[in-house]
């Protein structure tokens, strides 16, 4: 009895212990429940912010694509890319409604100025509401670089759009509790086509190997060989420099006023052609080619004196071989003729035998738009050659024989050996127009004039000039920095 009485207090102690354990367990359960609720709500707010950030990217992308790209001279024409550095910034009224846009230039940090409501130049961006507590601040970053230096006239854009968005949960003043997401949309770089480009060697053979005129810019990653008397920029407006950029050796007696030594100045990716792309975008164009075209092998072959007319539209061939005859490319002001030479290893061509993957026109090409002022007609004929994966593994050869016909075209074959020859009769030679991009590029002409209106025709109409290549999620902090918006990306 005494022993039992001596243990009376143990009940209280045990109960207290159980209560303490119970409280701990209960507390943990409450904490877990609250945490789950909190995470669920945060997830929702975070998703709202992410979609608001995407809305910001779409809005800015749209505004940039509204720029008059033709006047931006994507080919590096008279104004180069200087006008591309413009930013389109919204003007807002007191209710944050967009009342218009103003064009401004990038600030000292190379960033489009902040939208403070008046159209730019403010110290901070104004948040744009997307609904349900979502807001965004977004900015276009041109990312302009001048690989050859400011005086080279060569500017490349590596543009991006950065968008910071948040869910304020209905309390705009409490910025510390914003749930934020920040996204950078990396856009496709813009590097205008020059008059002559070679991923390896570039050679210009002038009249008797002594003289030639280059109206435009030329560049090569390796050696550049030009006639001793090479005159540049004799026939263009002052804005287009008429420069030569080489990566290894430069061979030419005349010291050009704009000669640059820069490595890797040419970096062109090949065009890829969808296997489902029709041989002719306009079906009747293929039938108009008659016996020169085989729908089985997807090859074009002209070996007699016939005249073949190409109507406006796209053509895809496994091989193009014209050793004789006349080739008329009847581009119009509204639509070009675009010839695509697919890879020999492509689905379209891999079943063929014999040589393929080349574009050969030994009697030249007759572009209906050739000879227009400033060579604007050259875009009327665009020739794209994919190549076989080996440098110089495929060939582009355009030989002019008629001195009365200007060879005018855009040739884009960055992995092919490209040669283009102007028509000559004795010493009377006529010039070449357009742009030629090859691996080893050889020009036989006394005059080459760059196309100044390269932006006239779309290669692919499904995307704007500014389009997203990839998205990067960034560490978010409020507000978006006007001087370093890509921080944390």
């Amino acid at each position: 009895m005494r022993r039992l009485r001596s243990q009376d207090g143990a009940v209280v102690a045990i109960v207290v212990m159980i209560l303490a354990i119970g409280l701990l367990v209960g507390g943990a359960a409450v904490a877990e429940t609250l945490s789950t609720r909190s995470h669920a709500n945060r997830d929702l707010r975070s998703q709202r912010a992410l979609h608001a950030a995407n809305a910001g990217i779409q809005a800015v992308l749209y505004q940039q694509n509204e720029l008059d790209l033709r006047s931006l001279e994507l080919n590096g024409g008279p104004l180069g890319l200087s006008t591309l550095l413009d930013c389109v910034v919204p003007k807002l009224d007191v209710s944050l409604k967009v009342t218009g846009l103003v064009s401004t230039t990038v600030n000292s940090a190379g960033i489009c100025p902040a939208t403070d409501g008046t159209g730019g130049g403010g110290s901070g961006y104004v948040g744009q509401p997307t609904g349900d507590h979502g807001y965004y601040q977004a900015v276009f970053v041109p990312g302009a670089t001048a690989p050859g230096g400011a005086s080279s006239g060569r500017v490349i854009l590596n543009p991006a759009v950065v968008s910071l968005a948040w869910d304020d949960n209905g309390n705009a003043a409490d910025t510390s509790h914003y749930v934020m997401r920040k996204v950078e949309a990396v856009l496709a770089p813009i590097d205008p086509l020059q008059a002559l480009e070679a991923a390896h060697d570039l050679k210009i053979n002038g009249l008797l190997g002594l003289t030639s005129v280059l109206n435009g810019n030329a560049r090569a990653n390796n050696d550049v060989t030009v006639p001793p008397l090479l005159f540049a920029n004799t026939n263009l407006s002052n804005g287009l420099i008429g420069s030569v950029t080489y990566g290894n050796n430069y061979s030419g007696l005349l010291s050009l006023s704009h000669l640059y030594h820069t490595s890797n100045s040419v970096n062109r990716s090949v065009v890829s052609i969808s296997p489902s792309k029709a041989d002719c975008s306009v079906a009747s164009n293929c039938s108009a080619l008659g016996a020169t075209y085989s729908s089985t092998t997807h090859k074009f072959s002209l070996t007699n004196s016939a005249t073949v007319n190409f109507g406006p539209g796209d053509y895809v061939f496994c091989d193009f071989n014209a050793t004789s005859g006349t080739l008329n490319f009847n581009a119009t002001a509204a639509a070009p003729v675009r010839i695509f030479i697919d890879s020999p290893t492509s689905t379209r061509c891999s079943g063929n035998s014999g040589s393929q993957g080349n574009f050969v026109a030994k009697k030249g090409v007759q572009n209906a738009l050739a000879g227009l002022a400033n060579a604007t007609g050259a875009t009327g004929l665009q020739i794209y050659v994919v190549g076989n994966g080996t440098y110089n593994g495929t060939t582009v050869e355009i030989d002019g024989t008629n001195p009365g016909v200007i060879q005018s075209a855009i040739v884009y074959a960055p992995k092919s050996q490209v040669s283009e020859t102007a028509g000559c009769l004795l010493f009377l030679c006529i010039g070449l127009e357009g742009s030629v991009i090859g691996y080893d590029t050889t020009i036989n002409a006394t005059l080459f004039t760059q196309d100044l209106e390269l932006s006239n025709y779309p290669l692919y109409a499904g995307l704007g000039a500014f389009h997203v290549q990839k998205y990067v999620e960034c560490a978010a902090s409020y507000p978006l920095s006007p001087t370093n918006p890509t921080s944390g990306c």
Binding site: E66, V98, Q128, T379, L459
Partner: protein, 221 residues
Amino acid sequence: MIEVTVAMLLVTLMVAGLGGLFITGNHSSLASQRQINLLEVAQAQIEQVRQTVKQYGFSTLALNAYPADPTHSPLPSSPSDPNDFLVNNGTSSASYLIEQNYNSTSHGQISIAPANGEPLEVDTTNGRIAPKTTSVAAGSDTATVWTYVTKATVGCVSTLGACAADDARRVIVAARLTTIGNGRQDLGPNKPVYLTTIISNPIPSNQPNNAIGLRLGLNIG
């Protein structure tokens, strides 16, 4: 004896309290799980809309029919039917209110929205977005998804002349549980979950001469 009785009473109370707590916590967790499931449903719908635009083009980003009429009028403070935000539905002036908080209409619309909301994009010929999808799996439950496409305002380059009215479109997705598979039927969320974004035309329709330039390295379709 008394202290034993008191102790048992305390323990009983604690066990009862803990039991209640666990049940409440369990319900709360279940509601959270359902909210997450709804969020995933809404998220999937937005991705599906993006995919539609990518595959069929921007012009197909429109409702293929008018939504059903609102079920409540006037607009409740926290509508359970997303169609309640429709104005002049079924007419050429149909619009949708862009709320600052869809679950508390007293906050009103966002500042940049017109008074009657943004015009609804309905194109019965080319539109590929269904205004309502039912029986969408949301975990072990099913949900109904409402989708609205409106003409959003993101500004345009006025120097180009008239600005295109519908080159930027707002997509609003609402998802609400309709059938509960497991667990308490009366647990939330009872209100729809909303997600909003904007999709713009990759080629502005007022771009001069469609001068979009040469772009290389693309798959040519």
